[in-house]
């Protein structure tokens, strides 16, 4: 049992690494998401070797994080396609719902970052709605810099924390 849990964690970590290198991840075509729904069965390579671009899949698009430059809240050009795919998916699947979570790096006060994270989440929501999703399918929240993935004072860490996550709360 322990080993299974460990391997799940490992696969998740690998999957996270594969999709977290900010700019590379988003330039790749979205991978099929069937594996993402069952990470235990999905070897990390599958996610990386899949090359078929998918416009509106049966399951929700794989890329779930978009990244931002310092103190910027606009969705970047490179991330638009990924966000638009979620919008198209939400339009096709009216029972699907997402929570967009905005996060920031540590270079700012807690309260300012709470505001910045909210704007990042709001801008992702706007783009989802422009891509066909209904506003009622999307909840936005900000964690500011309170739930950072890492805590090192360097750009490698900061770039991971300047992020909005699209989390499916139903219909993934």
């Amino acid at each position: 049992m322990k080993r299974i849990i460990l391997s799940v964690v490992l696969v998740n970590l690998l999957a996270a690494c594969a999709s977290e290198a900010p700019k590379e991840a988003v330039t790749e075509p979205a991978a099929p998401a069937a594996e993402a729904a069952a990470p235990v069965a999905a070897p990390a390579e599958t996610a990386q070797t899949a090359t078929e671009p998918v416009a509106a899949t049966e399951t929700a698009p794989q890329v779930r994080s978009v990244y931002f430059p310092f103190d910027v809240d606009a969705v970047q050009e490179a991330d638009r396609a990924a966000v638009q795919e979620h919008g198209a998916y939400l339009a096709k699947n009216s029972d699907a719902k997402v929570r967009v979570e905005g996060n920031c790096d540590e270079r700012g006060s807690s309260e300012y970052n709470l505001g910045l994270g909210q704007r990042r989440a709001n801008n992702v929501k706007k783009m989802l709605v422009l891509s066909g999703a209904k506003a009622s399918q999307i909840q936005t929240i900000s964690f500011g810099k309170e739930k950072s993935r890492c805590a090192e004072h360097n750009e490698a860490c900061w770039s991971q924390n300047r992020r909005a996550d699209i989390v499916y709360t139903s219909g993934k």
Partner: protein, 419 residues
């Protein structure tokens, strides 16, 4: 037997949380030379004593030069030979005596060594667990007599202590000792704000999945929701009369300033910028809100009338400026300045806009003035952990308070409280 128990308790009470080490750098220019003789009755005590607490309180302000008594040990005025203390302007002597029933009597005197008179005398009896409170009161009396300003050693501070995923909202003595947990959660807590009478604390918690604002009573620990709209509810700040709070809500899009009555009614929107407007705080006259906004393209400090209207930009130096807090006299404000990749604590004059950095830079965040305006409390970092620090309001004396456990953040100095 009871007496012996009292002594042990007394030692335990004073050495509790002696794990908090204090490091002081810098020195003021016109320091008052003062000597503090260890009180009689303290010789057998381990850890902190009343005289050591008083001594560290006074040192921290940067306004005193503590001169070693060098073996001279008077405990009564009759034992003081004034000619023996050249260069010492003030002398503190006293006695601590354990009484029956576990109580303690403390007597102290402050002597003016130049005029050869007694300035203050105080005798109190109290329980052992009140010894630190008595020490802070003694320090307050000395501070007030010698500087003309009230001391702040008896006031309290609030902050958030994080250990892993556990967050605690903590109230402690002004020197960081005597921690008392008001709230423990497995979700982030932010932005504690004291009511002007010190009886309540407003704060932000994520326990409902997003940021919402609560108000909690210190005496009863009862709490109530102040704002829980969709999006983020945050940055509470009390008006000087305690009748309303400024808040930041994102329910209409971006973070904007709102006012609400302390009972939660009559919510009014104050700013309409569409930018991030946050961290409001009232000026002491209650007429303005200082706040942080990125409406000009970068985070800067602004001022807006409480009833709303045109906002005036106040800061122009540094890359970004955050977290303004006015001084108690309303003449200056402190803030955190981000420039060249570092955070500094800075102060700016509201009349002539002169700015001065008070610290040498690092991760220096969230400054707040002591209620007498002489010290500024802020969050910094030491060996990868968040700690508390103070700097004298002239920037000359800095002190780090290093706690043994956890990551300390979001400190806020509380008000004077009537005793």
């Amino acid at each position: 037997m009871r007496f012996l128990g009292g002594i042990i308790l007394l030692c335990a009470a004073l050495s509790a949380r002696a794990d908090l080490t204090i490091e002081i750098t810098g020195a003021g220019e016109h320091q008052i030379p003062i000597s503090l003789v260890r009180f009689s009755g303290e010789e057998q005590m381990a850890g902190q004593t009343i005289s050591s607490v008083v001594s560290s309180d006074l040192t921290r302000t940067g306004l005193f030069n503590l001169i070693d008594p060098a073996g001279r040990a008077p405990h009564e005025p009759s034992e003081v030979n004034y000619g023996e203390w050249p260069g010492v302007d003030a002398l503190v002597i006293g006695k601590v005596q354990a009484l029956e029933g576990g109580r303690v009597e403390v007597r102290f005197r402050l002597l003016d060594m130049v005029r050869r008179t007694e300035l203050v005398a105080l005798a109190v009896t109290a329980n052992q667990d009140q010894l630190r409170a008595i020490a802070h009161r003694v320090a307050d009396l000395i501070f007030e007599k010698l500087t003309g300003s009230p001391g702040v050693f008896s006031t309290r501070i609030a902050y958030v202590n994080r250990e892993g995923k556990k967050y605690r909202l903590v109230v402690a003595d002004s020197d960081g000792y005597g921690e008392q947990t008001l709230l423990a959660l497995n979700e982030p807590i932010m932005s504690p704000a004291w009511s002007p009478d010190g009886s309540q604390i407003a704060y932000v918690s994520f326990e409902r999945g997003h940021a919402s604002v609560f108000v909690q009573s210190l005496a009863t620990t009862q709490r109530r929701v102040m704002a829980d709209f969709p999006g983020s509810n945050s940055a509470p700040a009390w008006s000087p009369d305690g009748k309303q709070l400024a808040l930041v809500l994102t329910r209409d899009g971006s973070s904007q300033l709102y006012l609400v009555r302390a009972d939660g009614r009559d919510l009014r929107r104050i700013t309409f910028s569409g930018a991030i407007d946050t961290e409001p705080c009232f000026t002491p006259d209650g007429k303005y809100l200082l706040f942080t906004s990125d409406r000009g393209g970068s985070a800067q400090i602004y001022r807006v009338p409480v009833e709303g209207g045109a906002a005036e930009r106040l800061t122009f130096e540094g890359d970004n400026n955050f977290s303004p807090r006015p001084s108690p006299d309303g003449k200056t404000f402190v803030f955190s300045q981000f420039t060249g990749g570092l955070f500094y604590i800075a102060v700016q004059d509201l009349a002539n806009q002169q700015m001065q950095t008070l610290t040498s830079g690092g991760w220096h965040m969230k400054p707040s003035y002591a209620p007498n305006g002489k010290l500024v409390l802020f969050a910094t970092e030491s060996q990868g952990r968040g700690i508390l620090a103070t700097v004298s309001s002239d920037g000359r004396v800095r002190q780090k308070m290093v706690a043994q456990r956890g990551d300390i953040r979001e400190p806020m100095w509380g008000p004077f409280v009537k005793q």
